[in-house]
Symmetry: C2
Subunit: 678 residues, 2 copies
């Protein structure tokens, strides 16, 4: 059992090699000083990891600071995002566009050095980390992406490796465990995770809550596990080299380290985790490290010289790769053209028409109609890959005529994530970050809750991930309240930058996919029905492009522009709204039905278009089989709210329609009552 | 590596003992027939688990169908909730109040046999399962509860064991992995999880996605692992007995089973997972099992006789326990009285006054003020136990003068969940379900997303769990957008049955805790500030009880009832609203500030009270540092929305106030602009 109690603290010893000592010391000094200047941050972990990062960036990582987006580069993922000063220090030392002044602006407004690393914000940062466990999942997604890209294109990606540094928290979080199980299953041998086994968490020593044998757990999940002293440079180099030699398994390095390594008093204490060390301790540490206590942000001349040498070597390797790459392109012109298309991921100009043509001419569940459209997307967008959390036959998201991804077999496009929604989310984010891929992850809508942090991060990172959720209301029926979404549609719409598409029929499925694919730097959530729906009977004059505007008039009121009420509905409820409209019209009312395919897209339209769909002063009703309160901010405070605020129940959908007053007669009656009591 | 490919299918063999064969056959028949009649459900898993359930309910489980809430009972948790017919069959056979007619109403409106088991709905069901992994976490929470209750009270709980059946999905989900790591860490030897290793998932064989060595993984996490044939009754009995003998570790039984065991064609197929077997296959299976293919819902006479014998034995054990219990009460009157108080968990009549008296008279962060109130709650409510996901020093939720829970030491009240939010959620739910405990789980508000499924289930199950989240807005500052909640407050309010309290100062912290504790059958979410806030300067005439009504007038408009605008704010933003009011009043406006401590509580108040706080026709502004759109349904469509719809940024809070227009001057200017352009 376990690793037991925290060992007694050994005396600090700097590396014997003066250059190495200068480099490691510089990383520690920069990290301490930046946190001290910002008056907030995490100094201890960068100090404990300085040795590992120095060895990794000096001798192992294939990258190029002058070409941060180099196609053939390795990826470095700092899953322990709160140790951001470690990454910023390395990026500065190795020559990325990150100056000492940038480091001095750590955690300040609009600086290039925010509290946690943010991809797209700082050159050399490959993913946004901070929420623990996500980075490990992203790294696994990148490793999977490299394997899949190698299977398709060969040379450009075959040397790519993913290096990840993880903390205690990273390996405790379920999302990392799920993703790690998949990595072991698939044998992602191009991945190496170094675990910072410092035995300190915020609440105290890990003996408080974390005594499992993490290495044995990773071995059980099919990883190649090594155990080393995380301050021993030879051991670090050896472990990284062994990871590169390992041909069938991902690597996990248990690196025993000491938080705040070298600080006389903060060493091995939980206090060193999340607060500045203070001037006195910093001065004392600088003395121990052989740095001038009077100076701040000091970069040792030997460190400058060392990393200049490293940069020169990286330049040579970079140039060498490009020579080989040019030769490969010459010899593989067709593949090279495919690669360019894959990376550019340009959409056909007639995408919408292509997808409209793929819509089956029959009534069906929107999950099935969407599936038909998805097959056409797969033909048009080679980067489309994905899978479900063991619900493929239900969510209908398998790409036909394509293989499943498996150990030693990465040429297909269908992924099997197992019953691991959160791991799926983090891995899809990693695939998107790798480049070229348009990943999708699928499950029942209710289980979007299991992966919500990854959805949020896909939006924060501006990644085109497609989150395809089916069984999108309590009308899924007998599975009951544990499986019936009520608040999920409304709450997913609240995540900044996320758009939610909820198509009402086949044509809207084509529009939904078009909207999603055209959002190149943002994720889109699909909400699809389990139950069958009819096609909307649209008038001849209907302009299909209006669907792309998010909300549009699906059925016009008989006496428009004189309108008694506008029913705004989405998905399966559009059909109930149309039926309710017929009842209300037969009672002499003039009723418009608006289909809300995508609220977020609608809010981007011109004020003129918005007013044409929802004219000011006309009473509106929001009709969705779930929480509809938030619609009031769009439809006005006198909006009639036809939704559900309680949990569902286990029963056939025909029963639930009536019991929850979602059938056309109930909807019409509720609207009539609301209008007349106004 | 792993367990490799699915083994070839061995020939089916019923138990040799005729009574055992009749019992197992009956369970299979009831499950098949109920799913067939409902035309939906999951027949294969109950059939594969019939042997294990029969042995467990015949020879192992200490319970009493006539006394389902027996204090000293074992708990049985069917984590694989979709196998609900297994549980319903066992409850029927062992004599709970569940008739054959109830089984015939499987999955129907208002039946006692919904699609997934629901606690409080069906006698004998201990927790609501279906969302995978949660049941394992609940079982671990119950085992922890039994250990903690034993440490306090001794005899009544010392024989209690928790038995759990888990599926592939259960052991793949991160929530179960996190909770299982905690169970191993704490050495919960009163827990036994049997894993249904049937090697079939919905998408196909487990070789598609799940090849790790699960047993080795559990061993690495400190569990006692056994591997058996899940259809061998002697092996099952032996493994359960060994689990009972194991004194230091939780038990994990790898039970190799076959889905749809005994069905000639469905056996070992993924098709048997989630759809009725069909009349022909059911008839064929009944023949194999020795049942009449013409009959439905047939309970074999030998099964009736067997379970009558079991019931008689359970009655004897139950009576014997009560004799000992009576003697124990006699000998331990004081402890018995404490036990009664613990179970009843009645609150003092003057709870609110007690908590008001505990409020520190100083300006501080609401996380600190709440912490002071919490200490008083801990003194008044012995069942209050909990902890954080490794953020105790930041969330300030440690109970002072109380020990940490640790292996072999369960008398304290402070739990250390490690960096495992979701496991924390499921374990707290288990503690609440065990009875007596009022559990709380704490982390930063942003990480509520990591445990959202458990929050939802605490509400669906009607459990008084307290979810205490701090760092409740982007004003936490430098940690940046990965840590800054934007949509969390609004989206937590959307979960049915959840109330969210967001106190603005110390007095409101006392009110928040009072509201939360008085919600005996529902969870409450706390949102607390990282940053310091002043106390609201309340008028002499202020009635403190108004705080308990959710929304109340914190500062009245100068010319009330003539009011130009009402600013509705919560938490730290109340103070910004009060400052903005001063600016607006100095410009001649009459402005009321309403503090929104708890919207859900307010919506339960009389129409009269609600109109007194928010009079019809008066323009209102919603002010929270996050998504405020949903307020429109409460405040009217012309509500001025002073929130944030984008992600945050890394910077000191003083900068963020201005940049996000949250400072008093900006708020006043935005209100002025909105009023004047109306």
């Amino acid at each position: 059992m376990g690793r037991g109690m925290v060992a007694s603290v050994p005396p600090f010893a700097a590396p014997v090699d003066p250059a190495a000592a200068a480099c490691v010391g510089t990383i520690k000094v920069l990290s301490m000083d930046a946190v001290e200047k910002a008056k907030s941050g995490h100094p201890g972990t960068p100090m404990g990891l300085a040795d590992a990062a120095h060895v990794l960036f000096s001798d192992v990582l294939r990258h190029n600071p002058k070409d941060p987006r180099w196609l053939g580069r390795d990826r470095f993922v700092l899953s322990v995002g709160h140790a951001s000063m470690l990454l910023y220090s390395m990026l500065h030392l190795t020559g990325y566009d990150l100056t000492i002044d940038d480091l001095k602006s750590f955690r300040q407004w609009r600086s290039k050095t925010p509290g946690h690393p943010e991809v797209g914000h700082t050159p050399g940062v490959e993913t946004t980390t901070g929420p623990l466990g996500q980075g490990v999942g992203n790294a696994i997604g990148m490793a999977l992406g490299a394997k899949m890209a190698t299977a398709r294109f060969g040379f450009p990606f075959q040397s790519t490796r993913i290096w990840c540094i993880a903390s205690d928290g990273d390996v405790m979080e379920g999302v990392a465990m799920e993703a790690s199980s998949i990595a072991g299953h698939l044998g992602l041998s191009n991945l190496c995770v170094l675990w910072d086994d410092n035995r300190i968490t915020i609440e105290g020593g890990t003996e408080l809550s974390f005594t499992e044998d993490v290495g044995a757990r990773y071995a059980a999940m099919g990883w190649f596990v090594q155990r080393i002293d995380g301050h021993d440079h030879e051991a670090l180099r050896g472990a990284f080299e062994a990871a590169k030699r390992e041909a069938t398994r991902p690597s996990f390095i248990v690196a025993r380290t000491h938080i705040a390594h070298g600080a006389p008093h903060a060493h091995d204490t939980s206090e060193a985790h999340g607060a500045p060390l203070g001037a006195a301790e910093i001065a004392a540490t600088k003395k121990v490290l052989g740095f001038d206590p009077e100076k701040t942000f000091e970069v040792h001349p030997l460190a400058v010289a060392h990393y200049e040498t490293v940069r020169a070597r990286l330049d040579v390797a970079h140039a060498e790769w490009h020579r080989e790459y040019a030769a490969w392109r010459e010899a593989n012109r067709e593949t090279a053209a495919s690669l360019d298309a894959f990376i550019a991921c340009e959409l056909p100009d007639n995408l919408f028409e292509e997808l409209l043509a793929a819509v089956p001419q029959k009534d069906d569940a929107t999950r099935s109609l969407s599936s038909a459209v998805q097959q056409r997307v797969a033909a048009l967008v080679p980067g489309l890959v994905g899978g479900s959390a063991d619900l493929g036959p239900s969510t209908k998201t398998l790409i036909a005529k394509s293989e499943s991804i498996a150990r030693n077999s990465f040429a297909g496009r269908n992924l099997h994530f197992g019953i691991r929604e959160h791991g799926m989310g983090a891995i899809c984010n990693g695939l998107a970050l790798f480049g070229g891929f348009v990943p999708y992850g699928s499950t029942f809508l209710i289980f979007s809750d299991y992966m919500r942090p990854s959805i949020r991060l896909s939006s924060l990172m501006g990644q085109r991930c497609l989150w395809i959720y089916t069984h999108d209301s309590l009308l899924l029926g007998e599975d009951g309240p544990t499986h019936q979404p009520i608040e999920q549609i409304a709450s997913l719409r609240l995540i900044p930058g996320v758009a939610l598409v909820r198509p009402a029929d086949g044509l809207e499925c084509a529009a939904a996919w078009t909207i999603a694919l055209e959002r190149k730097n943002a994720p889109t959530v699909f909400a699809l029905s389990r139950q069958k729906v009819p096609a909307i009977a649209r008038p001849q004059a209907f302009r299909r492009d209006d669907m792309l505007k998010g909300l549009y008039v699906a059925v016009e009121a008989s006496r428009s522009p004189e309108i008694d009420v506008i029913i705004v509905a989405s998905g399966a409820e559009v059909h109930g709204a149309i039926e309710a409209r017929s009842l209300l019209e037969s009672q002499g009312k003039s009723v418009r039905v608006v289909s809300a395919l995508c609220l977020e897209r609608f809010l981007e339209q011109s004020a003129e278009y918005r007013a044409s769909v929802l004219p000011k002063g006309v009473r509106a009703a929001a009709f969705e089989a779930g929480r509809v309160g938030p619609w009031a901010s769009v439809l006005g405070g006198d909006a009639i709210l036809l939704g559900i605020d309680s949990f569902g129940a286990s029963a056939p959908d025909t029963v639930l329609y009536k019991e929850y007053a979602l059938d056309a007669a109930s909807v019409a009656a509720r609207i009539t009552a609301a209008i007349s009591t106004r």
